[in-house]
Amino acid sequence: MTSSFSTHPLQIREYPNQSYSTEEEQFNTLLMDRLETLTNQTSELRSDVIGITKYNAQIRDLGEDAFKLMEPIMVVIEEYPNEDSYIASYPELEVFGEGSTESEAIMNLKLAILDLYDDLLSTQSGELGDLPKNWLHILKQLIIKSNP
């Protein structure tokens, strides 16, 4: 029985003395592009499945006295052990913080949340798209700004 691979009419291996038609060259290029795409997807899947530990953590404050959280919020922590890297994120607001430790990532996430809050407050409402308007709505429900 002949396998489907051996009956395939085009080859990607290059032979020094073999000349290729334009069609074969185009096919080879296409094949190499697809191979690279698959390599990327495989690498990403591998890191997703093997390399990453994902869990939730609760934060109770934003690290600044002037801003209080109405209630504790759940954030997502992703650990990339092969790179000594952590990402802390709050998906609802599409913000994240990175760090070489979990606590550093959480601290940077808190700063990113405060930056987002200031950024949105200082932007005129008409300038914001629907998504950022929703972020601001969420943040206004989450954060109390206390007067010094």
Partner: protein, 105 residues
């Protein structure tokens, strides 16, 4: 190009290509933030690594977070950096993912 080989300099090509607008607010975070405007309104926001902050290597998690902020698949993200993905095509992706109607189509 492989996703994991993207450098800090590569990422900053996106800023020019998509005319990303740096956030003007004084920031607490160590990394700069950029907005993407669609029809004059700020619709997407992402954080890029600090260009002057180190050797230029970026963690996988950071890259994935940027890619997610921009609503792109890994391949679209690479295409954006390598140039096959045009600003107009990116705009079409954003319209599609945000569920907005593209007036140009």
């Amino acid at each position: 190009m492989k996703f994991f080989n993207i450098t800090c300099a590569d990422l900053y090509k996106i800023v020019d290509k998509l005319s990303l607008e740096p956030s003007k607010n004084k920031r607490r975070s160590p990394h700069p933030v950029f907005w993407y405007r669609l029809d004059g309104r700020k619709v997407l926001r992402t954080t890029l690594p600090n260009l002057h902050g180190g050797s230029g290597s970026i963690s996988t998690g950071f890259l994935k977070s940027i890619r997610n902020n921009l609503r792109l698949t890994t391949q679209q993200f690479i295409d954006l950096i390598e140039c096959p993905l045009t600003p107009e095509e990116f705009e079409a992706i954003v319209y599609q993912t945000l569920g907005s109607k593209n007036p140009h189509s």
